[in-house]
Symmetry: C2
Subunit: 680 residues, 2 copies
């Protein structure tokens, strides 16, 4: 009976919001559009083969080869055949991948696929080769095992993305990130079905793309850290093989320090000495939009670099120009008057429209940050919405405004992963929400991008800033709006996050590298315990006044080992919340386990040979231990002396302060647990 | 009085063999030629600056910049200035680097330097910019700290290498290693003053360098995994900036499967179907030395690629040609007869001499593995000695033979790091020893190379196969012969090995990546305990018959997480040896700590959710725990029952077997500790 019941059960196609039971069974991210299970499994063994049926596609050849390596690497199975075969040569391969066309990478791309796994094998069918790639990634996520076998879970999946633009921006100006860093992140993007790499190549802190027409740009404004044109081509080809578009950004007219270091004559303030910026923040150097030479320069530069990027879109930045040097320049003021440009915004629009024409001539559409959204801007431009409440605008409002005004638009407000905010915030950052839009307006909302600004991220740490939070953003942009249960997402994301290590992502392994550096290669257990409850200061408070960290400051310290969503803090805070609602002894014991671990931790910390770096951490370690000990006693209903309570109060005060640029992510929970005792 | 004593003490210049006390104080590797200490220290603070005095050198500019980053990264000091300055602009920098000339990278290069550290600052003086680089690396190794400060130890060092050729060979054919893997290993080489990167680019398993003249080579024989010519140039320039020469190798006429996959017409066996080799071993495909087309092809290929490598030397391999296809080809037999070539060796010499002429015309000297050492080979060739006792020759004998016959020569016999043998063996692999040579003969012994063949190493694991053992080889080739105390080397190498993490070397961090993969992301402590006593099978026994591992087999398993010189085994074996000699209670307690840890470990192992991979490890875990428990009882003089003794005997038998391609590195010690009990 049971079997029959299951069979009939499997015939029901769940709509996405009724898939909760399946979401408990399968750790898929992003969650597919429709999935049914069939209670079968396909067992993996050394005879596993992949056949490919479709027009020649380097993408699928590579993806299928990598698929075999990854399956083999995870399971330890020594496959007989290490490469996929053509379907015509091998009609019996267990995994059959079929597609109709080689996809053209653009915003009309069809990425849908159908995946079926049953005990006889696997089929992936897709209109394009890129859809086939997406299906292979889903199949990898279905790998599981019992004690004696590895297998793929039996399911039938029909999948397609909600948004066509699912991007990750990496800022390579504030800190340069070499090709291998970019490539491994492209691999990770593909693993969670993202399809746009926005390459922020130029900013105040460095010009990072070789120009043969203007070699001064990298000679004078890159510290030797830039991509050659061959490397750019290599990355673009690599991305294309993963079904990822590459959108370059050359940020103008603001953020101009690097360009103006090489070409001071194009600056808005005559006589100003421009140099590569070493600090973080918003700076004054700005290209002069009234100088014809500026447009000659930009047209030559764009004409040179545009062919490196086959994508239809080209990002010109356009953000954070405060116009200070424009205001200080009488000739620019005269120009504005002469051309009827009332504000600096109008002047910048004048500039943007000129750039738009240059780019159109080169076959590209202009993309710019939301400051470019001004009344006279042509609707061929794409508006990249980034500002929100902290910039004096309702969150995401420019996205909706742009769509309503006829612009294509993408969302980054709420996806600023460099701010080290909790994953839940990004996950729930629904682009449209309940706002009613026409079909045309909805279609103009192309999607969004996680933005990885790198003022505070070097190649050592950038992966841990991008991942795992960007997996949640990838799901927000691929999956249906109704897929928004945070707890379930937190469960599913764990194995997906770990599996990124197989692609070389360093978000886990580099944490211990940093802790070994801090400990001077002593045992890192005591530091790991602290790392699991500490988070880097959020938003931009780590860079007080924008000048605390220079580009060459050390990013090898405790805050750099810490991440958003500190591992133990996430669990502990949930326990305390549950305990506050309903005080079960099970929850209490779980809380006590943490408190006891922390109370003992300072003894281990003290065993480390002292150093200046460790001294800086001592207040955190000591006060955490003392507070945990006292709170553990409180939780056991022991009565604390006045002196002990005073010490606890003091411990908590200290823990609320900044320590080596981190915040203690359990401080609220500790206060909740102490409140009654301290208030008595 | 003490101060005066110290001052006078510091004036004594130690010759290298009387420096034992200093070797206990300073963790320098390779150990310098002469060092004195002055009991002063130079304190580091945020005002630290480096000035450069010498002709423009990109090498020194980069090295000094990286020096500042590394100091900052280690100490957490936020330096005011992130870049070095010219001495003329800044005569007061604490660190003054001066050199006379920009060095030409060749075997006559002067790499000497003088380094002085006292409380007032640091001076590095060198004849060449490359000597200055070597001095900066030594200075980094002098970084130390107490609880309140970081400082450089006060010393005076006069240093120069013993051998001019201190190389690392990386085989990128059996497994391809991308540019970033090569670059990080070049950084690590420079950190221990190595100066030759031997790039084994072509072998049976793949042709890894782009040819524009013969694109078929990579199209048909690389699986898409090769270096573009731009990447080659980039690596060569990167190496040059580190003072490292790049010697390419295109291995001919044997190891020819890849070349012949693209050009079967050049093969020695007409009609043979050549294909990229997927197994390991010595194979038959061999270029036809009697075919004029072979020389046309090689001359065109060499003419194309030689300009990419400015070094004077070009390696043509020439090894392991067993001549099977020559013997099977009647035309080749006729050719031999016609030209009076009696043996296949004679025929190969005929081939080598033709290549030597081609290379000479291109301005290069030929280097070849020691099979090229035949009576008619011109002495302009360099002999690369690799064979030893396991190949039927006294170890290192071809090195001495070559030097005596007038050839320049380099040693790799004894430096085969891929064989996973103990570091002590490589460290004590003295090239010349007590053999008496003339001054001229001695001068012909240029040095040696660690050889990293990559049948069993992917980019995930290769660093842990190269490091830290290659540090010991670097010392053997740089330092004086008398620097050969293994225990002291093992003490000094620890911090140097850890510090390679700052250069991105993955030898430590990727171990846990693999254990996480094996555990399916569960707690890895139980696996770490096993990893610390297990070593990958040595020599080539892991590849039984040469066909066990294919190029696409998984290298993500337990043996890949293990390394030579297993961490706990090294200590435990030493303890047991000491205890056997003199049974102190201190030693006994230390031994018991390990035995108790191991006896408890299987309980932790069993807590892991089972999987096929973990099942394979279970016998190792279980028998280690049982044996450790019994031996711990024996050590405490408890009497074991006959059944218990029988079980112990059985445990030890099982532990002596292979387990998932590792050997238990403590097995001898366990047997020593059990012997009396088992013999009773």
């Amino acid at each position: 009976m049971r079997k029959i019941f299951i069979l009939s059960f499997s015939l029901v196609v769940f709509s996405s919001w009724s898939q909760t039971p399946l979401k408990e069974s399968f750790n898929l991210m992003p969650w597919p559009k429709a999935i049914t299970e069939n209670n079968q499994v396909f067992k993996l063994n050394q005879q596993l083969e992949v056949s490919i049926n479709g027009p020649k596609s380097e993408r699928v050849d590579r993806a299928a080869t990598n698929f075999l390596r990854r399956i083999s690497g995870r399971t330890g199975i020594f496959l007989d055949k290490g490469f996929p075969t053509s379907y015509n040569d091998n009609k019996n391969a267990a995994i059959k991948v079929a597609y109709q066309n080689v996809g053209d990478l653009n915003i009309d791309l069809d990425e849908s696929y159908h995946l079926n796994v049953d005990e006889n094998g696997v089929t992936i069918n897709a209109p394009t080769d890129i859809g086939a790639l997406r299906g292979l990634e889903t199949l990898l996520q279905l790998t599981t095992n019992d004690s004696s076998n590895y297998y793929f879970s039996g399911v039938s999946i029909t999948d397609a993305p909600r948004f066509v633009w699912r991007g990750l921006m990496i800022d390579v100006s504030r800190h340069f990130h070499p090709v291998d860093v970019i490539k491994r992140n492209l691999d990770a993007m593909a693993a969670v079905k993202m399809n746009v790499f926005h390459w922020h190549l130029v900013d105040d802190q460095g010009f990072r793309i070789e120009s043969k027409v203007y070699p001064q740009l990298t000679e004078l404004a890159s510290d030797g850290l830039f991509y050659t044109q061959d490397q750019i081509k290599d990355v673009v080809a690599y991305a294309s093989n993963l079904g990822i578009r590459v959108v370059p950004e050359i940020d103008v007219p603001g953020h101009g320090s690097a360009i103006l270091t090489a070409f001071p004559n194009l600056g808005s303030k005559p006589g100003y000495v421009y140099s590569i910026e070493r600090n973080s923040g918003v700076f004054d150097p700005t290209l002069d939009p009234t100088n014809d030479e500026t447009y000659v320069f930009l047209e030559n530069l764009f004409t040179e670099v545009v062919p490196l990027f086959p994508d239809h879109y080209f990002h010109i930045g356009g953000d954070e120009n405060e116009g200070k040097h424009w205001d200080e320049n009488k000739d620019i003021q005269k120009f504005k008057k002469k051309h009827g440009l009332k504000t600096n915004h109008d002047l910048q629009t004048y500039f943007n429209i000129k750039l738009e024409k240059i780019l159109n001539k080169l076959g590209k559409n202009l993309v710019g940050w939301d400051e470019i959204l001004t009344p006279t801007m042509p609707t061929t431009a794409v508006i990249h919405s980034w500002r929100g409440v902290s910039d004096g605008l309702p969150n995401g409002s420019t996205l909706i405004e742009a769509a309503k005004k006829g612009y294509k638009t993408i969302l980054s407000n709420g996806f600023y992963i460099d701010r080290m905010e909790p994953i839940a915030k990004h996950y729930l950052n629904e682009p449209i929400g309940d706002i009613e839009l026409t079909k045309e307006e909805t279609a103009r909302i192309l999607g969004g991008e996680a933005t990885m600004w790198s003022e505070l991220a070097t190649s050592l740490t950038i992966d841990s800033r991008i991942w795992p939070r960007t997996i949640a953003i990838a799901e927000r942009l691929w999956s249906q709006k109704e897929i928004n249960d945070v707890d379930n997402m937190l469960k599913r994301i764990k194995p997906i996050s770990y599996s990124l290590e197989e692609l070389g992502i360093t978000h886990i392994k580099n944490r211990d590298v940093i802790l070994r550096n801090i400990s001077n290669n002593q045992d890192i257990d005591a530091l790991s315990t602290l790392q699991k409850i500490a988070e880097p200061l959020k938003m931009y408070t780590r860079n007080k006044g924008g000048t605390e960290y220079k580009t060459y400051s050390p990013f090898t310290l405790f805050a750099d080992a810490c991440t958003a969503d500190a591992e133990d803090a996430l669990v502990f805070n949930k326990l305390v919340k549950a305990y506050s609602t309903k005080a079960s002894s099970e929850t209490k014991n779980a809380i006590q386990d943490y408190l006891i671990k922390w109370s003992k931790n300072h003894d281990r910390f003290k065993q480390l040979t002292a150093s200046p770096i460790l001294n800086d951490l001592e207040p955190l370690s000591k006060n955490l231990s003392e507070a945990s000990k006292a709170i553990s006693q409180i939780l056991d209903n022991e009565t604390l002396s006045d002196a002990a309570l005073k010490q606890l109060q003091n411990n908590l005060e200290v823990l609320k302060q900044d320590h080596v640029d981190v915040e203690v992510a359990i401080i609220n929970s500790l206060e909740i647990l102490s409140k009654n005792a301290l208030n008595n």
